[in-house]
Subunit: 435 residues, 2 copies
């Protein structure tokens, strides 16, 4: 069985590439060629029967991921499934199940079954939890086999892409310590890995035994999402040696993965001043030879708890316009609590706005056309048309209806003084005068 | 009596400049020098006794304005005063009272008295309303004297800056018609002006009699905010001939105003694709000889009704990072209804995030320091410290408290698996090993 990457290199258009092309409205050939040169990945685990194939990368629509999943403090499976539905209904292309509490195997399988969205996960959490709960040991007692067993488990369940923190190495940890950081490591997977390395006095197994990881990935045709264990957790830590050194390592691993026929995308920061974003995208694209870039945020300020979805939308729009391909949402509850269903909706919409604004800037076909249709509906005061084109038709309608709709047809902002109406009158008058 | 501009040119630091400098944490000399060369304006009507002097322009913190005010469909004065308080409490530097319904004179005076914020208005609405309501005539029957009387009225009441659509001229209207636009004119003041010009077959009085406007502005030391009657109302209309031609005219008027000792800022779009924003800022700064730029949005997509504060925050952050000085907020209710108090809060916070992110990017002194303090509080899991630094402490606290705070000290996102805690443990262990 060939992987997507191997097929593409032989000029074959797989069913998954064709499906991804349909989802994009582009030619299957362009997907195939992008997969072949590594600038596009098609996410689809061979065992994820019901899953949509998702294309991510150069020239394609910017995709949005919603992180869901339980924590030890909140293990309600029904809530997670509702989050999955709400996220997909509001335009999330992918769901990462990051559950770390309660029946995580059951939650993951239920989340996969709940929608046809592309699914991602961080199998290291699984290995850690299984070690604690099944083996009654501490996280640092995970064996290397435990770590790989977690990956196989997720592959078997049909997860399409997995975050693996392969760039967290002794040399990178050393650089971080020497330079000093305000927030050290804020990636959970990165922190687990470092604690394991320190306590066991060993190198990161996902780096040391990268070939073993590639074999598993080949088997399921998993996309490796090379995680950024050193993503900055605050503006002050952005673009430092640890982050950039990890990126160099991820670029090296990208080449090895491609040579083995395994698709790769790269994860990125994090927290970052607005003026550093473009440089970071350029750096990632160059160091990782054009691999698709999957960014969490970046959040452009640290002082907006409660509104981090907005800080994320600003950074995400700028990142995607500069070439990032895949945006991981952030919710209003980031840094404060596990998000609830409302947070998920707010987060998805904010990232969708960012992705769409970037697609317009990048000239992705079909993007600005929606805006142009909206503009024509606005001009005509065609409210139903406006609602149907809105990213969240329900909220748009609710806000208008709540205000009490007067019979002037405009909205309560301007009423009869509506500029559209005044201009129609003025231009009509001018027509009369000039004819 | 000299204006701020005249004083600055003579090397005088006025009380208003000193107050603006205190508000910035910069030297009074730098404010004076910026006012003298027109790159900074100090907004403060001579008659606005209780008003804070607000510096806007190059090198200063990016300011945020909240539009409030009644419409014919909603004339409740108490509601507008609550909006004023909420806006200022959440960080708005200025309030524009755009009332067009109910007792507008009473509302404006009450809004001015309610807080010490800088106040802006669009006196043309006043003239239009007074014509309709006091003279029982149609808007197009306004006389030139009516138009100037509206301006004097606002000057007398202590308004600090006024939007005047002086660049809406016959030549610009002609250009708009010849090129064609999806949404024509969406500025209310612009639309009123054009209707008046068409029906009366005359040039715009605020252009034709600009010297008369300057005399009034000198008298009160009003800052003229030269309005963008042709601001694009949708992405498709952005950066077209009408918009750019109007900007050229505004640049010419800027020179005339400065020559008369009158301070000027320039208003800008509107709706604009993300990739056009930087060019627009550059164009404005060059064509208007460095005058402070006051932008409404720009909204980077048209399809986000219900979430336009987010589309605005994205555009505003990019605009301010590129040099825009003053952001006019947009609320979630934009394009749908008159905003309510919640909308005002959401809108102000979104624009504050944008302004702050831009200030960090621009290197405004004191900006990133807050983020660095937040990062240190996060690392220590110092929640009270985090709340105190948050743009909206109340919401941040509420989200955390609602989730039920467990005794692990972290948040319910990761619980015991909190990366900060794991890293502290790992680094502590490493210390032990290396010592």
């Amino acid at each position: 069985m060939m992987t997507q990457l191997e097929s593409a290199r032989r000029g074959i258009i797989t069913d998954e590439m064709a499906a991804a092309a349909r989802g994009e409205g582009c030619s299957p050939e362009s997907i195939r060629d992008g997969v072949a040169d590594g600038t596009i990945v098609v996410c689809h685990n061979r065992l994820h029967g019901s899953g949509r194939s998702l294309g991510v990368g150069k020239g394609l629509r910017t995709k949005v991921n919603a992180n869901i999943g339980s924590s030890a403090d909140d293990t309600d499976i029904a809530k997670e499934l509702e989050k999955a539905r709400v996220a997909v209904a509001h335009g999330a292309d992918a769901l990462m199940d990051l559950s770390t509490g309660g029946p995580v195997d059951e939650i993951r399988r239920a989340v996969i079954a709940e929608t046809d969205a592309c699914i991602g996960s961080v199998p290291l959490y699984q290995a850690a939890l299984d070690t604690v709960r099944l083996k009654k040991k501490a996280i640092v007692d995970m064996t290397v086999d435990d770590i790989f067993a977690g990956i196989v488990k997720h592959g078997e369940d049909g997860v399409d892409f997995i975050t693996v923190h392969c760039g967290v190495t002794r040399s990178t940890v050393e650089r971080m310590k020497n330079e000093g950081r305000v927030m050290d490591v804020v990636s959970r997977g990165g922190a687990f890995t470092i604690e394991w390395m320190v306590r066991n006095g060993r190198e990161n197994p996902l780096y040391e035994e990268f070939d073993r990881l590639l074999e598993i990935a080949r088997h399921y045709d998993l996309v490796l999402s090379l995680g950024d264990g050193f993503r900055p957790g605050c503006l002050a830590d952005a673009t430092d040696r640890a982050q950039v050194h990890e990126l160099i390592i991820l670029g090296e691993l990208t080449q090895r993965a491609r040579a083995a026929g395994v698709q790769v995308m790269i994860e990125g920061p994090g927290h970052m001043p607005l003026n550093q974003i473009q440089a970071n995208i350029l750096l990632q694209k160059r160091l990782c030879h054009g691999a698709p870039f999957y960014v969490l945020g970046p959040l452009v300020t640290d002082i907006a708890p409660g509104y981090d979805h907005i800080a994320c939308a600003i950074g995400g729009a700028v990142a995607a316009a500069a070439g990032a391909d895949f945006l991981c949402y952030v919710t209003p509850s980031e840094h404060l609590r596990l998000p609830d269903v409302n947070d998920v909706r707010e987060g998805v919409i904010a990232s969708r706005i960012a992705a769409h604004a970037a697609d317009i800037a990048k000239g992705v076909p079909g993007a600005v056309e929606k805006d142009n249709m909206m503009a024509r509906c606005r001009k005509k005061l065609d409210w139903e048309g406006q609602f149907s084109l809105a990213l969240d038709p329900e909220k748009a309608r609710r806000l208008r209806v709540e205000s009490g709709v007067a019979d002037h047809g405009a909205c309560t902002m301007c009423g009869e003084f509506c500029a559209y109406k005044v201009m129609d009158s003025a231009m009509g008058e001018e027509e009369k005068i000039s004819s």
